[in-house]
Assembly symmetry: C2
Homo-oligomer: 145 residues x 2
Amino acid sequence: MAKSLPTTARSLPIALIRAREGVMSPIRDMLSETGITEQQWRVLRVLSEYGAMDTKTLADRSSLLFPSLTRIAATLREKGLVTQTRDKKDRRRQFVEITQAGQKLIDDHLDQASQIVLDFKATLGPDNYETLLDLLAMLDPGAHD
Amino acid sequence: MAKSLPTTARSLPIALIRAREGVMSPIRDMLSETGITEQQWRVLRVLSEYGAMDTKTLADRSSLLFPSLTRIAATLREKGLVTQTRDKKDRRRQFVEITQAGQKLIDDHLDQASQIVLDFKATLGPDNYETLLDLLAMLDPGAHD
DNA sequence: GCGAATTCCTTAACATGTTAATTGTTGCGA
DNA sequence: TCGCAACAATTAACATGTTAAGGAATTCGC
């Protein structure tokens, strides 16, 4: 029988929000000079890692909902960081690809981003870091494989 | 020397987003029938737990930025779930208090919300659950005390 | 093949996140 | 007390999150 909620100070959703805020803060600082947002950075990272892909796959790998991705892709296209092309076999589909300018933006900030990640790993300790990722994955409904 | 970013599949920010999505999904389902959002629920929860407080403290405990809280408080006031009063000593400040209707909304869904939390605790196991909260707290810059 | 489901993507509408500028109030020092 | 720094809260502007509805293209059953 459920009796009471945990105090908000020990609430899992709130803890996730605050942890995310703590992690994203230095990353946002880094991105502020690039003129792109955290989500736009994430999309470019996925495209850089996997290469061109259709929008559905991109949305899934970027953890973005379709309506958000539609807007983000349009913004990135206007900035000249990605290109969009229709699939000729199935004209419903669209492929997104990172441009040279987009790849350069990633390359120019790779070291800085890596260092931020390393700092967090050092803060937690390597073992704790891996443990955290494993536990977070257990909460992810899309991590069945 | 930083060499490369982790793959996006093993990225801490993305893992945090996905975990949050997994946790919030059933909570949003529960809230959909109440007509209030996740953030509005969080504000009511804090007010229910601590009682009336000034906006600054409320924003801090709810993990919301001021501009968001301004809008959310206005919405909750229109719904009759909170009241706002000016501090007579310092008229810059404002106090927010939950109403009977707001408290009833919390009470009516307390069991359901508790069960959702218990389910996640069961999924992870009690020890892992506590470990996760501890690790997340280490990433929270505001958790120095 | 024809039309109803399905799929991929976009648009719309509203709430929130984020940063910066603005307003109203208080306190303080020349 | 005057002017200014500091503070609390709001507003503005833009990007994203979320849900629902819409449009275009494809697939499948009959």
